[in-house]
Assembly symmetry: C2
Homo-oligomer: 185 residues x 2
Amino acid sequence: MNRQAQPNLSRGQIVAEAFELLEEAGLENLSMRRLAARLEVQAPAIYWHVTDKAELLGLMAREIYAAAYAGTGPAADWRDWLGQFGRVLNAQLAARRDGARLCALARPPSPADAPLHAGRIAAPLIALGLDEERALAHQAAVISFTLGWTTFETNGPMRDYLRQMMDFDATFTAGLDALVSGLRA
Amino acid sequence: MNRQAQPNLSRGQIVAEAFELLEEAGLENLSMRRLAARLEVQAPAIYWHVTDKAELLGLMAREIYAAAYAGTGPAADWRDWLGQFGRVLNAQLAARRDGARLCALARPPSPADAPLHAGRIAAPLIALGLDEERALAHQAAVISFTLGWTTFETNGPMRDYLRQMMDFDATFTAGLDALVSGLRA
DNA sequence: ACCTGAACACCGTTCAAGT
DNA sequence: ACCTGAACACCGTTCAAGT
């Protein structure tokens, strides 16, 4: 009965459960042991599917970015695409508890993936007419701005005070538009 | 002899030693126990001077921002000031190991400080003619962009690959200029 | 006022051993 | 191939007790 010829765990399950734990417990309580308990497994079992806690965080970050790419629709030109992408990424980061902090902390899944990752990053902008160097630079600028902004926006004490002073969404959009309109073709 | 009428420890000493430990060990090895050992004290002693590890990180982050404000000289106008500030902050964040990740992770020292903190944030720009709302918004935009950028710039694997593709300093400056020139008065 | 000693409730990770 | 049991070397934090 419990011979279990099929594995109980998969990377996908682990990452999905990690997001639920993140939501309930926050980044500082996202531990391998608590995650294992949720998966009804002993902690070392996770290490068969994932080398590291760092790798797990990297996979989670990658999923957030992937959702932002997927949520960015067809665009009239590269500025339009960047503006859309920034807003969707902001929404994806803010939708998860500690999403921005997670992405700031995480490192790319693996060094070997870096070139491939960079290729994907640049692809949509290249398709809209930018050369690779500008595509990478502009995409990095928009991701940077959005990640940094969302870090502040979701940062407890400061948020509560600043929201009295400004409309976060409007101010974010204004900054993003300022940035995108200033980038050169 | 060892009656020590004077305290051995101060917040300043603790924060200073924490920066040295950060340099040697990195953010994930910055522990209260290791810090205590460096200060030749037992770990609980630190808690007399600092309520929390979170507070300690907040104090460290504040010191980095303070250095950026201090390093920003007199400016011709508010755009000039923001450009300078962005470049100095980038340098300050990159000068410390894991500086950007530290600042992304840290929360402001105390909720009660938020209004005061916000006041200081806005002050230089208000002195250069911006109203408070725009001053806060623009300063937040520049800090966000710089913090996000430096997070990537100092993020191991990605850095090594991207540096073949672009000059980080030049690309950062281009993005910062794009942002600042797009902000409205 | 300022610090130590001892303890509580955890961590990430490794590794032999099971199935 | 995939997981458990047990262990190693740590954590942050509390709190009584010392001085």
